[in-house]
Each structure stands twice: as structure tokens, then as C-alpha cells.
Symmetry: C2
């Protein structure tokens, strides 16, 4: 065996044994030469091989460090195939929700019956009467000028001053998030996500060949700021993708102080924040919470929003207020989908001009709160001892934590056979941390069918009891 | 200087000097050890560095080869920044076309006044009366079932039997092409494109961190089959992206025999063909030409189509008949834009059901042929001696070749100041091969303004005369 290969194996075994924990600085090249009695070339080659296999990372002007935990236990190949399995799983879950015979507690979208169908269709009719052939051109990226202006006005009402030129209209928030991530990273870069996280973040990271650094979030305070700072200290992080308001799946909203702290922290490390704020309009209380974007002074927060969760399903219109990154995002969009459909942009601009939006949102928030309370109450009667339900103000998700040992991936399969979908915890992490949890979408009409479904879930869970 | 660095520099200089032409096998590691009197480690390290810089490629069980011409003259970094410049240029060209004061001879889209505006708007109105909240779900990928069925019927009329399940509806053909490329490649892979090529292919390749292998196409026969085969022999090609009918910018359509040959050749090398067929409906003659997909027996041709060039601008609806790759493309779409807008899919399905499409297309082809003839005639009177115009049957592009020495990038800038856009040759290649050429979109109404613009172009060209 070549000397460099011996050294490679040795260091790899030391990392596996925990001798060099994730984030530790490895001995320098010179130190290794002295300690191991081998040539500098041998050490360099060994470090290169370890880096190419994802065991270690080099940081310019600093040295070599052990790679984060997620990459530590398996070489890149295995990690990749695990990811593909999650994708298959997400895909299966999404496909199942399409079946109108399935009760979609697993969906991420609210009941579209809650949307102002008649007014939206009136706007679409208006557009069909007014659309001119030139509208295809004038709605190219960054998108419809009137729509961007009305969005800028909505930001202004929240005390956020930004130019309509900073806003890019996209094919839903998912395109906004994906383009944002692409705009600030290169393949191989590290990206901070939270854990649990929206599975779209995991998929985007895999698709763009990035590496995820997961920082825990909890339902009390949201993302762990101290761990976030440690992660920023240790790794060359190129982006941070978080939900700061009504986080999916936990439902947690960061306090204003924590949002300000988050922006300041990321500014200090020059790390762009991709702020996924698709549930922003579904707040509870007297005042809408500010997004983290409110505290952004450097144009380094990319605030992604959407109409899909609060106004209309299927139009596929979202946006990003991208600060200094707006130009780059436009270009990426021109290369990948060219633009958002002109009639859809115009229909939304027409609807927003009617000023019915806020009236609709107020009613929507009330209905969702009522429905969530019903589902929560029914769950309380159906869950085993030791289970808990996170029910935070706003939104329409309930996060159910069963006692350890319960298997919600299995529960998902069993429930599906009974015509009920749930979003199992497995979706929300690259690992196995949440396989005893699941998310319930409580936005659906509360009727005997829904009540029976919660009972069925309770029975299936009870049957899993292992004691 | 370290020994491996000396060897790296030496081999790099040899490649630059043409001692090892692109595609040549380099001396093996053992041979280098003997020839250079250095250690195996030193040679390995040098080869690794050369590979990481794009000078050479390794081929499993075979050895190291000099990288293709495109990568030969510059290390990866420089190639990248050149690409970014092209992107800026493409972006500028696209932005200029948006200005309604500019005569858009540089546009890739036909005059939208030629589209059946009234019937399309009637379809949009129908949709606005019939759309239900559930339509958002039922139009998720692979897309609207009725639309996919009607597309499959149109394929069937051409003798192409494919299941509607093979078809994925996308946000325009650009998304179809990008998802197709992504579905069959990984970053770093080699992709064959033609030269000149649609600039979107260059952008997609850069965005996905792929490497382009350009094979020449000419206006007589299209892509050079012999060079294509040599390229497939030499490089581990993972995809081939071509326009087989009414190629942009040349206007050439491969003969049926050549299309069959192309499919057979790529099948032999197991290379998927991404067939960009967005001008398919703008054929001339008695019968529409078959796409290469017609000869596909392995489901390895991804045929990408669109309504944007022949029916409606700004709806952003295209599709791919993706054969064995359809499932993977659906998943990539679910991760990146989620889906195509439901009302837009429904409006097109409604329009296609009226059976007005073929009547419209027949008239459109006639009008375009007439307009192209007028522009060509005017150009003949305005161009300098030695210039030539490719005017092939069908479509609406004219490809103008000025004598060597003329600079169409400069011409583009000068014409823009006169309120005229053209598509300069620089857009259609990563290199400088076509800087004396430009593309003219002849789909616009032929009036005094257009005639004056052609005269102005002629004058600007005459002013460039250097003799």
C-alpha cells in the first residue's frame, strides 16, 4: 500500500474513532511530516484524498478541519444515495396528496376553498379582456412593474423600504428560494439549514450539489443562536436558509430580538440569509411580525414570499426581495425558466389593486385559527400518553411528537391505506431525528370525515404501542 | 518550486505548444516516472493538478488524455469569467429587446400580433369561469392530463407513438431543456452542442457546471456527423443538445436520413439526445418534417417543444416528451418550480380542443414566409459585396455573414443607438468564430420603419469597411 494511502486510512480511522471530532483543526502539513516521518508530498496527497472524500475541509489561510457530522460517517457516495431515498419519499408523499380520495393532512397547502375564488376569477377575466401581445415582453424578469410596486408598498407598510427593482417575480416561492440559493453559492459550498427543516431546502441543496450544515431549531425559540454562531465560526458557510416566521414544520416564530440578532450575526460573517417567509400573512395577534429583512442594512437578506399559501393555489407566482442579489437572480431566471407567466402576474396585480386582499387575509386567519383549534382538540383525545402537540399561534400546522419508539414513517404508510395522509418526521431532516414525529395540516374543513380520520390515526398509533 | 509543480508546468506548456493535441493519450504514470526520473507520487500529483485545472481528463481503465479544445487554451477560472461576459452580453441583448422603442430584429420570438389573440383570450375567459380550487392539485407535474393527451395525439399524427405519461408540461421549453440536461448529467460532465448554437444551451451548461464540446453545424447539412462521431469516441459524453429542425440561428433542418443516423449514432454510444424543437411548427413545404424523436427506439431522445414561438407569448408553457427520463424530470421540476401554472395549462388545453390550432399555424407559416422574403430582398440591396444571407425554407430567421473583418458586436451597439436590435454572432458560440455574422428576425410587419431600419443597418455596415 502506498504511504499516502496508509496515512489516509489512519486519519480516517482516527476521525471515525472520534479522536478528531467534527470541526477540529487537524495537524498542519509540517506537523504531520514531523510526526509521521513521511514526505510533505505524501501528507498533501493524503489530505487531498480525505478532502475529496468529504472527511476533511480546507480553509484558506487556516488549515485542514474535520468535516461536519453529516458527512463524517459516510463517504459522499453513500450520503448521496440516502438523499435520493428521501427524495423518493418526498415524491411519494406529494403524489399521494394529489389523489382527491385522500384526506390531505400531509399537504403543505391550505384548503383552497378558503381562497377568494370569485374575485380571483374576475381578475383573470379582466386580464383576458385587456392582455395585449406586448405584455409578454413587459412582464419578463424582474416581472410586472405594477405587481412589484404593490409588493414594495406592502413592505413599506411594515417599515421596510425597498425599491421595486429589488423584487423579482418568480414561479412561486420555490423558484425564488432555489434561484436565491444558486445566486450565492457554488457546488461544494456549505449552507446552514435548520433542523427540522422544510424538505425543499434539503432537495435544493442536493440538486445544487451543496453541503448542508444542520443547526437545531426548537418550538420555544427557533434556531439555536449559539450553535449557529459556532457553525459560522467553524465552517466557510456561504448561505443560511431559514424560516423566521411560522417555521415549517414547528410553527415557531423568532422573536423580534432574535431576528435582529440573526441578521447582525450573519452580517458579521458576511453570510447571506435566504429567508423563506411563505406563511408570513398567517400570523396571529394584533400586528404582523417583521421578517428578518426588516433589520437588513446590507441588502444581504433575500426575502422570499408567495401567494400560494394565502391567496391562490396553482397560479405559481412568488417573489424575492433580493437586495444586492436581485440582478443575479434575474439573470439566473432568464436562463432557466425565462419568466413567470404574464397573465398570472397581471391577474394578481389586478386582484391586489382591488384592495380586497387584506379583508380576505383577516378572515382567512380567523378560519385557520378555528380549524386548528378543532383538530388540536380532537388529537388530544386520540394520542397516547407521553405524546405532545406543538400548537403555536398562527399558521395551520400542528407538530405531533409521539414517545420515542413510535415510527411515523410506518404510520404514514398505514394511514395512507386508510385514505389519510400525514407528513412524517422523516421528511424534515437528512437524518433520523424525527421519525417519532409528524406534521398535521389543520387547514381543512372540520367535518365528520376529518374527525373520523383523527380517530383512525389515534387507533393506528395505539396499535404501534410496543410495551 | 516543488517537483510536482515543475512537472505540471512542463506538461501544461507542452499542451499549449500543441505537442499533445486535444484528445491525445498522455504518457502513463509509469512512463512519466521513467522518463522524468521523479517519483510516482509526483507524477500522480501533477496529473491531478492538471485535471483539476481542466487541462487533462482521466478515463477509467484507460489513462489520461488532453482535454478538448475549448478547455485547452485557458484554465477553468478564465473560461468561467469569459462565460460570464457572454451572459452579461446575452442579458443586455434581451434587455434591449424589451424596450418598445427598439425594432426587435434581434429577438428570438415572432411578432405576437400574428397570434390568435381573440381565441386565446376566449380560452382564458373560459378557464376563469371553470377553474376550481382542486385544479391546482390536478395540474401538478407531469401536468394537465387533457393537454398531455392532445400533445400525444399530435405526436401520433406524425407517426410517433408515445404515452401521455412520457410528457411533462413545463414553464416554457427553456425549463424543459434545462431540466432535461440536469436529468442526464452531473457537474463536470461533457455535453455536445453544435456551433453556432442557441445561446441558452451555453448558459445552461455554465449554470450546471458542465463542459461543452462544440461540433460544427453548417447551413447545408447541419451538424457534422463525422466530427460528432469522433467526439463521441474520444470523450465520455453524457448528453447531446441539438436543434434538428429550423436550427437557431442557421435555420437548417437535418434531412430525415441524417436524423435517423443521428439517433442511431447516439444510441450506439448510449448518449441521450436533448432535441430542442421549438420551431417545429414553422416548417415549409407539404409535410412537417419528423423530429429525431421519430427514430427513437430506446426512449433516450428528450424532445422539447413549446407554444411560445407559434401560438402565444408569455403563457410560459412548454413540454418535454422525455421517454425513460420522464419520471426524473418530474421530480426535478417538483423541487425547483413545483409546477406550471394551472390556468395557463387549462387555457391551452381549451384552445387546442377548439381545433383552430392547425388553421392558425397554416396561416402563420404563410405570413412568415412572405415577411422573410421581404426582409431578405431588402437586405440584398443593403449588404456589402462578399456578404451572404442564409435563407432556408421555414421559420423566420435570416443568418447574415459579412466578409471577415467586419465586427457585428460593434454593429449591434451602433444599431441599438439607432433604435434597431440585431442578434450578433458573438451570442451563438463560446468563441469568436461568428463575430462577422448576425441573425435577423424577419417575423415583424414589413413597413416603412422596418425598411428604413434595414437601410440603416446597411449604412452602418458600409461604414465599417476597412479597405
Amino acid at each position: 500500500m502506498a504511504k499516502y494511502q496508509q496515512l489516509t486510512d489512519e486519519i480516517q480511522q482516527q476521525i471515525e474513532a472520534g479522536i478528531w471530532p467534527p470541526g477540529t483543526k487537524l495537524p498542519s502539513l509540517r506537523q504531520q511530516v514531523q510526526q509521521q516521518g513521511v514526505s510533505l508530498m505524501t501528507v498533501m496527497h493524503a489530505y487531498e484524498v480525505l478532502e475529496s472524500q468529504g472527511w476533511i475541509v480546507s480553509r484558506p489561510q487556516s488549515g485542514y478541519y474535520v468535516a461536519p457530522r453529516a458527512l463524517q460517517t459516510a463517504p459522499a457516495q453513500v450520503a448521496l444515495s440516502e438523499q435520493v431515498d428521501i427524495n423518493n419519499f418526498v415524491f411519494d408523499v406529494l403524489q399521494a396528496i394529489r389523489d382527491p380520495g385522500i384526506l390531505p393532512f400531509g399537504s403543505a397547502f391550505p384548503d383552497p376553498e378558503l381562497f377568494p375564488q370569485r374575485q380571483l376569477m374576475r381578475s383573470l377575466t379582466n386580464v383576458s379582456h385587456q392582455l395585449t401581445p406586448l405584455d409578454a415582453l413587459s412582464n419578463l424578469p424582474p416581472g410586472n412593474a405594477a405587481l412589484r410596486q404593490m409588493l414594495a408598498q406592502r413592505y413599506a407598510r411594515q417599515g421596510i423600504t425597498l425599491s421595486p427593482d429589488e423584487i423579482v417575480i418568480t414561479n412561486g416561492a420555490l423558484e425564488a428560494l432555489n434561484l436565491s440559493l444558486q445566486a450565492v453559492t457554488e457546488p461544494g459550498d456549505y449552507v446552514v439549514i435548520e433542523q427540522p427543516t422544510f424538505y425543499g431546502a434539503l432537495q435544493a441543496i442536493e440538486r445544487l450539489k451543496l453541503k448542508a450544515l444542520a443547526v437545531p431549531s426548537d418550538a420555544q425559540q427557533g434556531i439555536d443562536m449559539q450553535q449557529l454562531e459556532e457553525t459560522l465560526q467553524r465552517w466557510p458557510v456561504k448561505a443560511c436558509w431559514l424560516m423566521t416566521t411560522l417555521q415549517n414544520p414547528l410553527g415557531v416564530t423568532l422573536s423580534p430580538a432574535r431576528k435582529a440578532q440573526l441578521v447582525a450575526l450573519l452580517a458579521r460573517y458576511q453570510v447571506p440569509l435566504i429567508e423563506d417567509d411563505v406563511y408570513a400573512e398567517l400570523w396571529a395577534g394584533d400586528e404582523p411580525p417583521h421578517p428578518a429583512k426588516y433589520w437588513d442594512r446590507q441588502g444581504n437578506v433575500l426575502h422570499c414570499g408567495s401567494f400560494s399559501k394565502c391567496l391562490v393555489a396553482g397560479f405559481r407566482v412568488g417573489w424575492v426581495a433580493a437586495g444586492q442579489h436581485a440582478q443575479r437572480i434575474q439573470r439566473l431566471q432568464l436562463m432557466s425558466t425565462l419568466s413567470t407567466s404574464a397573465p398570472m402576474q397581471l391577474a394578481l396585480a389586478d386582484f391586489l389593486a382591488t384592495r380586497r386582499y387584506d379583508t380576505h387575509l383577516k378572515k382567512l386567519r380567523q378560519t385557520l385559527a378555528q380549524r386548528k383549534a378543532w383538530v388540536h382538540q380532537a388529537l388530544r383525545g386520540s394520542l397516547p400518553r407521553g405524546a405532545s402537540v406543538e400548537d403555536l399561534p398562527g399558521g395551520y400546522f400542528l407538530w405531533v411528537r409521539l414517545p420515542q419508539g413510535y415510527d411515523t414513517t410506518l404510520l404514514y404508510q398505514q394511514a395512507l391505506q386508510q385514505g389519510i395522509s400525514i407528513a412524517p418526521g422523516r421528511l424534515f431532516s437528512a437524518g433520523e431525528e424525527f421519525t417519532h414525529c409528524f406534521r398535521i395540516n389543520a387547514a381543512w374543513a372540520w367535518d365528520t370525515r376529518a374527525a373520523a380520520a383523527i380517530e383512525t390515526l389515534g387507533r393506528l398509533i395505539a396499535d404501534q404501542r410496543t410495551d
